[in-house]
């Protein structure tokens, strides 16, 4: 199978795309960073390995990339977000050239102890072979292992009392500084004016107060309910170290258990929000 550099070169030589979003080496050792490649001359710096953590799909909806034909290097999880973007009319399938990555899992983090562990999202991955791609590239790195600590934490939270759970989240959300990095990194937070920035009325208080932080984190998780594909970029970029993936994962689990729904699998399938079933559960409604 061809390597990423020759594939990228082919993209430009065959005029498959105007630009290509991929990964390149970052200055610090062991890190990668996203890069936008505009011609075949620039492809030699592209890399592809288990340090390619970013979900590049988030760049697809950036204003400067709109209207262009974009090639993108995407792991299975990233492709799920591309699928979701198509389903939500944000991009057109024909405008994106997907270089799917056959992937055995990426690192949990760029550095530290976690860089030796496999990312938690990779443990239950069902798209190691891309489910939607124009061509595929093999990322042969392997050998990463690790435990799904978040799954255990969700179970623990579920078994707590409401009071204990509230205390847990109060402590977590208190750390939030409202930098909105979670939002910026999220491929599905593509609103031009987020509800958190709406001032008339101000549903979410702008200052990082406990109450505003609660409101923000709840609304973020709710707006991603039935949409989040679980790339966990929000959590990775959070400077305060809030375990945001717990919220999203919980809602993914709810979508699965209540509706048998999984987002990001097919752009033609009906979305969870926006449709209904006459048989939706209502045992909680009097």
């Amino acid at each position: 199978m061809a390597d990423i550099i020759s594939i990228a070169r082919g993209v430009f030589e065959n005029k498959k795309a105007d630009i290509l979003i991929g990964y390149t080496k970052a200055t610090s050792e062991g890190r990668t960073r996203p890069v936008i490649v505009r011609s075949a001359d620039e492809v030699q710096n592209l890399v592809l390995n288990s340090s390619c953590l970013n979900n590049l799909a988030t760049y697809l909806t950036r204003k400067e990339n709109k209207g262009k034909k974009v090639a993108i290097v995407a792991k299975g999880c990233d492709i799920k977000s591309i699928v979701q973007l198509i389903a939500e009319s944000q991009i057109k399938r024909e405008n994106v050239y997907i270089i799917g990555v056959k992937c055995n899992g990426v690192k949990r983090s760029f550095e530290g102890e976690d860089s030796k562990k496999i990312a938690e999202k990779c443990l239950n991955c069902n798209v190691r072979t891309p489910h939607l791609a124009d061509e595929t590239v093999d990322m042969s790195d392997e050998g990463l292992t690790g435990k799904d600590e978040k799954a255990e934490l969700i179970e623990k939270l579920d078994s707590m009392s409401a009071e204990e759970r509230f205390a847990f989240w109060e402590e977590q959300f208190e750390k939030c500084i409202k930098c909105y990095a979670c939002r910026q990194a999220c491929p599905l937070c593509y609103c031009e004016r987020c509800i958190a920035d709406k001032s008339m009325p101000r549903w979410v208080e702008s200052s990082p107060t406990k109450r505003g932080n609660f409101a923000w984190n709840i609304v973020r998780a709710f707006h991603l309910s039935g949409r989040c594909i679980g790339c966990n970029e929000c959590e990775r970029v959070c400077p305060a170290g809030i375990p945001l993936s717990l919220l999203n994962r919980k809602m993914v689990m709810v979508a699965k258990s209540e509706f048998g729904y999984e987002s990001g699998m097919s752009a033609d399938a009906p979305t969870l929000i926006g449709t209904y079933d006459l048989k939706d559960k209502e045992e909680f409604i009097k």
Binding site: Q90, E192, I195, M200, P201, T271, I273
Partner: protein, 665 residues
């Protein structure tokens, strides 16, 4: 700068008794931006409305909060008053301190506190109201009438007579409804068919009326002034344009023993049949469930004898769409059938009366057929089991009606009258017969009604027994009717030859389904709900859909006809306008912030969300956003709640209004 006036209504004692209105007014003036407040005995009265108008002028009010009854009651009244004083009507809001406060609470302190809270919330809300003007939509000046009984016929004739087109849909093969089954009508005892048939023919021949018999309404889209209706024309198996109604096929059909619906099972009809001789249209229909050809593929006798080649075994249901501006629902009633008691039936049933078990225990409509000159006995009173003349007949009223323990709570209204009529008709035909009526009490309100019942008792010597019947059982060829005479306080047993049950009037079995198709509310019995029981009795709460006859509650003929004309006039009021003014409660898109995810489009039940391209000065496409077709939008606001960035908002119930209403809690 908002200058808000608060007007607190006592509603006589209705609010004033539980809510301390003067205190409420004093509290209201303390609220920010409230520059004027006052309480008054009757705010909706002329002087009350004038107070509002004067205050608007004198205090330069630009918003008005009226604390009074439910907005469903007087929102329009007060908004109109504001408009007359030059204030935009949508700058007036109601705080419901009657239905939701004074009437439901006892404690004056609590109710007063709640009233102040409700006003504060409304005041905070109104600060984010802005002037709106009505939306104008064109009107399709054509009506749909569902149901071809006397109500539907009357409504159709009235609208057609005013010069507008009418579509009349009837699910049976002929129009006429229950009235065509009746023998004579109370209180005049004139022949039902004699007065009905001319009306049926008139409806059939009217150039403005298009009749669809053997048809049902499958789907309704759209809204007042602009409905799109899908009508299912069921396969009649007879080509209407070819059939001359000669009746040869009916005569020759070898199947003779299908129970006649028209004769309530007391007589039989062929597989190809015309329900009754005066049917309109006089075109037969094949009952495919009994026809030999449809069962075995053989016979085709009707086809062989038809000189016009009008029989069409291949005919399929046909779907027809029609655009109409108003809909009149006149689907009528059914009699409660007590023999078939299903487990989940709304009522427990009256198995103890032996209906369905004894052939001579019949219901009111069956008696009508027996008494009718066109009926199975040619009008002679003969009992079904042995065709002998019954010498003693017991009539039992309120079978299912006014009986919360076993039946329905409501009164079926017409049974007192028709039972008196039945007993009279019986006595007129069987001179030596005895007629007994078991009743709870006699409800004979209506012109000439009580006189009619008196006549039955005094001139025709019908024996009225006040009390209920506990059981009817057969013993040695007689039906023992066990009951109680509550006036003498003794149990009575009557050995009758025939028993007639005045079973309850119930809604059509498919009433709820049709209501859901039409989007109109109905009560727990399946009767359609009027928007106001006194002042708007023929309007449903869905604009442009009107009610006539017994589909709304049990009705007799004069009432049904009156309702039908009233409903027709409501449709005509609508048709008197060129454009329809609609409340401007519709969604609006903020095109700057919309990113075109189109979740709003997914949740919209009215296809009111369209795609709009935003281009820059050079004509390059910048983005595609949502856009609201205000003609289609009905203002539910589901899009608003769904939109993640709140780039679509429902005018009149926008985010700021609700936000500040909550904040003022």
């Amino acid at each position: 700068m908002m200058r808000i006036g608060v007007f607190v209504c006592h509603c006589g004692e209705n609010i004033g008794k539980t809510v301390d209105c003067p205190t409420v007014a004093k509290e209201a003036i303390k609220l920010p931006n409230v520059v004027y407040s006052i309480d008054y005995k009757y705010m909706c009265s002329d002087p009350g409305q004038n107070m509002i108008k004067q205050a608007i002028a004198e205090h330069k009010l630009n918003a008005v909060v009226v604390a009074s009854c439910s907005p469903h009651m007087h929102e329009k009244t007060f908004r109109k008053a504001c408009a007359q004083a030059g204030l935009n009507p949508y700058m007036c809001e109601i705080a419901n301190v009657r239905e939701h406060c004074s009437w439901v609470h006892d404690n004056v302190e609590e109710a007063t506190k709640k009233a102040v809270d409700l006003i504060r919330m409304t005041v905070e809300r109104i600060k984010f109201n802005f002037p709106l003007s009505e939306i104008k939509v064109p009107i399709t000046k054509k009506a749909l009438v569902i149901g071809g009984g006397i109500s539907g016929i009357q409504a159709a004739l009235d609208i057609a007579g005013a010069g507008f087109k009418v579509i009349l849909v009837e699910k049976e093969p002929s129009i006429g409804g229950h009235m065509s089954q009746l023998s004579e009508t109370f209180p005049t005892l004139d022949c039902s068919q004699c007065i009905l048939t001319p009306r049926m023919v008139e409806a059939y021949q009217h150039p403005n009326i298009k009749l669809y018999t053997y048809s049902e309404v499958d789907n309704v889209d759209g809204f007042i002034g602009n409905f799109k209706v899908t009508i299912r024309k069921k396969a009649r198996s007879v080509k209407e344009n070819l059939c001359t109604g000669c009746g040869l096929c009916v005569q020759k059909c070898p199947i003779k023993k299908a129970p006649s619906e028209f004769d309530e099972g007391l007589a039989n009809r062929p597989a190809i049949y015309v329900p009754f001789p005066q049917a309109v249209p006089n075109i037969p229909v094949i009952d495919r469930t009994v026809c030999t050809f449809f069962k075995t593929g053989k016979c085709q006798m009707c086809k062989k004898v038809c000189g016009r080649d009008a029989i069409d075994f291949e005919q399929k249901d046909e779907l027809i769409t029609e655009d109409v501006g108003a809909i009149i629902v006149a689907t009528g009633y059914k009699l409660y059938k007590i023999d078939k008691k299903s487990k989940d039936a709304a009522v427990k049933g009256y198995g103890e009366y032996g209906y369905g078990k004894y052939k001579d225990v019949i219901d009111g409509l069956q008696f009508e057929r027996i008494a009718s000159a066109s009926g199975p006995t040619a009008g002679e009173i003969l009992r079904p089991s042995d065709k002998k003349q019954p010498k003693k007949v017991v009539f039992i009223q309120c079978v299912g009606s006014r009986d919360p323990s076993k039946g329905f709570e409501y009164c079926s209204k017409i049974c007192c009258m028709y039972t008196a009529k039945h007993a009279m008709l019986y006595k007129h035909k069987v001179h030596d017969g005895e007629a007994y009526v078991f009743y709870m009490d006699i409800r004979a309100g209506g012109k000439g009604y009580d006189e009619f019942v008196r006549r039955a008792i005094e001139e025709d010597h019908v024996k009225y027994i006040r009390g209920r019947v506990s059981r009817v059982y057969e013993k040695k060829g007689k039906y023992i009717v066990k009951g109680e005479d509550t006036i003498s306080g003794v149990p009575v047993e009557i050995e009758a030859d025939m028993v007639v049950l005045a079973t309850a009037i119930v809604a059509q079995p498919e009433a709820a389904k049709l209501a859901q198709t039409l989007g109109i509310p109905y009560d727990k019995y399946g009767f359609y709900a009027e928007v106001h029981p006194k002042l708007r009795p023929v309007e449903s709460s869905s604009g442009g859909i009107f009610l006539a006859g017994a589909c709304q509650s049990p009705r007799d003929i004069p009432e049904s006809v009156a309702m039908a004309s009233a409903a027709a006039s409501k449709a005509l009021v609508l048709f008197g306008n060129e454009m329809l003014e609609r409340e401007p409660i519709v969604a609006k898109v903020n095109e700057n912030t919309c990113v075109g995810c189109f979740y709003c489009k997914k949740v919209c039940a009215y296809n009111a969300i369209e795609l709009k391209e935003i281009k820059d000065k050079k004509g390059n496409l910048v983005k595609v956003v949502a856009s609201v077709n205000t003609g289609l939008c009905q203002g539910c606001g589901t899009c608003n709640a769904t939109c993640p960035s709140k780039s679509i908002e429902l005018i009149g119930f926008n985010d700021e209004q609700i936000f500040y209403q909550i904040k003022a809690l």
